[in-house]
Subunit: 530 residues, 2 copies
């Protein structure tokens, strides 16, 4: 249970042949021991071959077998104990509470998908029995259920070393679906990823799963990602990261000889709309909640509230003043790595340089503090400026937000109507505020995956009802989510069977219903045998 | 109720400003009256604007309102009576039985989607209630349901003037989902399409739907398709047609600034695997069924059996001889249009020219018969030839098929393993044949959308359990179907609501469950109120 810097290929840990590096502690800007390795091209190809070989074997496992495997993954991750949380803290600068909370979330996700596939609804089993006497033509027996799409490549995110990485939500949902997974480790927290991969590898052996069911690779630069997404063995991709990275891989996935489903969650600016009565009643409380959401994890959440919009009245003045005081009190938090810190500073500088944008407040300066840090920032602009300059809609990954001041309600509608697709949209409002603005609410809802009322966007529940995705560019395909049980749908395809003999049907579709699934039989839901 | 050659834009029929043409009767090769028109760029743009305006209005209709609208569409199409079936026969060369059968199927599909959205399961409603006392953080109330993705463009197919055209399965599923539809009419049967569009337009008025909910455009060449797929107002596309056409539009859909879901069903060669005991017992019967499937609609089905594979034994000899006799007896059937007939002949010539491919039989020659016709053809090749030449896997749209003769079972496995993605795969087999070959069956199943046992691939049931799609290149995305109730999923995206006040929730998610939906509440399915 220590970091070795190796690659997991076909069940074997082996040093990568593609170069050496060390992880960096972003709080100190210093390298962390031990030396790590990158996979070379031959190792990547070996992993692809192994994943392809594992696919039919793993697809043939029962949901119960895979559920036990997912439970074992969760247990093994928990068994990493402080070794894991300490490495996470070293590699990310996150406090212990965050590291342990995210570990809990990650294991909770694995167990949630275990429960989900045991329940079996994900199979979407449907049976339309033969009607031999139907005129003018008899109807054959037709049975339908979902099956795994094949090997999946998962790109871990920078900001969730556990919950969106080696055994995060993409991996958990793909494994639950019956798809082998190749994880492209994120170089911001490679040791954390490796420890988790070691835990999963133990679960693979315990549960007698094929060696290629889970593999873990590291690589410098973008070549490894391009190789994996372009490989004929790969049948789908889950990605969490930047718009630029997501779109580059999206293009590759669609330009292959065989295009494959590519799901990228690419973040957004998560607008928070403040309505007048709420502002009048509780501007200070809203500002406090807003600053808390903005600064959580040094603002490094894809659901960070990067935009506030409201009609410019006394309530908004009170909010802005209180939010400014809050932002000024924020320490210069540790950012995930040098690249994130530099990109954040560049984003803030770019926004500050736009005509009509003014800085309302700034947090503690970075100064000579150790490591990679970000100074919180709050800007404002008039709606006319926002509406005429697309730069103001660009995500700045970190603790920066922009208040858009609208002359009146009509302009507020225009601002909401001009928004690109978002992971979330938030309304701070009284009941009366909402009742009077159903048009505005519909406009916002049409642009977001999740609509939040009187909360803040950070804090994404992991549950059946979660939608974490949204209209482009929040996600590459608005029909899917990367969080919650519906995330499994990304990695399933339907297959149907016409007049298949009972003995050869998959268990989900046998007449005696051995798994006691809820099935749509002749148009009615039933758990009964045929 | 007569063909006028006009475009339907925002509820108004108007002559197209982009040129004039006439439909062609393929049985005679002669133009059909009256003169028709093409839309020009301004008219296309007007339709896009109207669809976008209709989207929120139509999205706000209830499933019951849309179900009535779909039922009205079906009633209006039926009310076209002989006017429609006669125009279909003129434009396609199909016999009356086919025209009327397809009309029945089309109206059946519309009514099926009406029932489907009334039942409401497509909404996939999920509720995870607030847990205010949860530690370490309270859980908010989270509610999830599906909603329409926005305006959809539908490309009608050449071979189904009704069931995959103006009010075919793509249109029916998009309208059921709550999405406005712009139909790009197929120039092979524009009058049939217009008559159906007139019927839908009457249903739009009867049901007080927004004018832009259904529009019907014609255009020469590919420009209109490119314009529609590239338009920012369009949020998804349904396409049925050729690989070349599908992939060209797929690229456009993914290269837009905002990529959109694009579903193309692009046909396949639908392999039929003959197993030895079945061949030994009933080679003649299998051959008879095969020739019937091959020649149905002059072979112009995307599920036409274009490939037969078997171990070369006495049974296969008997099958080949019987199939050859059957093919020789086939008349030179009418093909859909000159382009289809030319492409068919070119495909047959190309296959015949491949090394190692020999012609087993040919149907009646086209000779000097009127119109556009195709001569049926049956070829054979050894497995080694098939495995070394990808040309042998190319679809030939029309009544041509290739028998692949395998030296042994291992070679048969290789042939199946080398297949690209298919809409369907068929096994002709006894129980004993199947029991002995679970590996081969899995190999075939992994490559197809629908596995048929002891039937033939033509005849696609429209039901809950149908999967009409498959691994690439049968379809552009193996996760979706274009036939059956699951087709609606292409045009829905999830949205979720966090702590939304009751009064503002969509009815599907209200605590009192006014639509009596089956909902997943705290992980359990229930129709009860909260």
């Amino acid at each position: 249970m220590s970091v070795t810097g190796q690659q997991l290929i076909s069940g074997q840990w082996q040093p990568g042949q593609g170069g050496r590096y060390r992880a960096i502690n972003p709080a100190e800007g210093a390298a962390i021991e031990p030396e790590l390795t990158y996979a070379d091209e031959a190792q990547i190809q070996a992993a692809l071959v192994s994943a392809e070989a594992a696919a039919p074997v793993y697809a043939a496992t029962s949901p119960e077998q895979r559920a036990r495997f997912l439970d074992a993954c969760a247990d093994e991750v928990m068994a990493l104990g402080d070794t894991l949380s300490e490495r996470v803290m070293q590699e990310t600068g996150y406090p212990k509470g965050r590291a342990e909370g995210e570990r809990g979330r990650t294991c909770g996700q694995l167990k949630m998908f275990a429960r989900h596939i045991r329940a079996g609804d994900y199979l979407d089993a449907r049976i339309d029995s033969a009607l031999p006497d139907r005129e003018p033509m008899p109807r054959p027996d037709i049975r339908f259920c979902k099956q795994p799409i094949g090997p999946v490549v998962v790109f871990g995110s920078s900001n969730f070393p556990l919950a969106f990485s080696a055994a995060g939500g993409d991996t958990a949902s793909a494994l639950a679906a019956g798809c082998p997974v190749i994880v492209k480790s994120h170089n911001s927290h490679p040791g954390s990823g490796e420890l988790v991969a070691q835990a999963v590898a133990r679960a693979v052996r315990q549960c007698d799963m094929p060696a290629g069911v889970f593999q873990f690779l590291s690589g410098a630069g973008n070549d490894i990602g391009a190789t994996l997404v372009s490989a004929s063995e790969v049948k789908a991709v889950g990605f969490t990261g930047s718009y630029r990275g997501g779109m580059a891989l999206h293009r590759l996935a669609n330009e292959r000889p065989e295009p494959i489903p590519f799901f990228a969650e690419m973040g957004s600016i998560n607008p928070v709309v403040l309505l007048p009565e709420a502002l009048q009643q509780r501007a200070d409380t809203i500002a406090e909640g807003f600053v808390g959401s903005l600064s959580l994890g040094t603002g490094q959440f894809c659901v960070n509230p990067g935009l506030v919009a409201a009609v410019a009245d006394a309530g908004l003045e009170a909010f802005s003043a209180a939010a400014a005081r809050g932002v000024e009190a924020l320490p210069a938090g540790v950012m995930l790595n040098e690249g994130v810190a530099k990109a954040y500073q560049a984003g803030v500088d770019r926004l500050a340089a736009q005509a009509g944008v003014s800085r309302v407040a700034a947090g503690e300066p970075v100064g000579n503090q150790s490591g990679f840090r970000g100074q919180a920032a709050l800007f404002q602009a008039d709606a006319k400026v926002f509406l005429s300059n697309e730069v103001l809609q660009e995500e700045i990954f970190g603790p920066s937000s922009l208040i858009v001041r609208c002359a009146d309600e009509a302009e507020l509608q225009q601002v909401v109507g001009a928004l690109q697709g978002q992971l979330s949209g938030t309304l701070q409002a009284t009941e009366a505020d909402l009742q009077a603005r159903t048009g505005l609410i519909s406009l916002l809802q049409a642009r977001v995956g999740r609509l939040v009322v009187n909360g803040f966007p950070t804090g994404v529940e992991v549950c059946d009802a979660m939608m974490h995705g949204g209209p482009f560019p929040a996600a590459s395909d608005s029909r899917f989510t990367s969080v919650g049980t519906a995330a499994i749908d990304r990695f399933l395809r339907p297959g149907c069977y016409q007049n298949m003999p009972e003995a050869l049907l998959p268990p989900a579709l046998r007449s005696d219903n051995p798994w006691q699934l809820r099935r749509l039989v002749e148009g009615e839901w039933t758990q009964a045998a045929l």
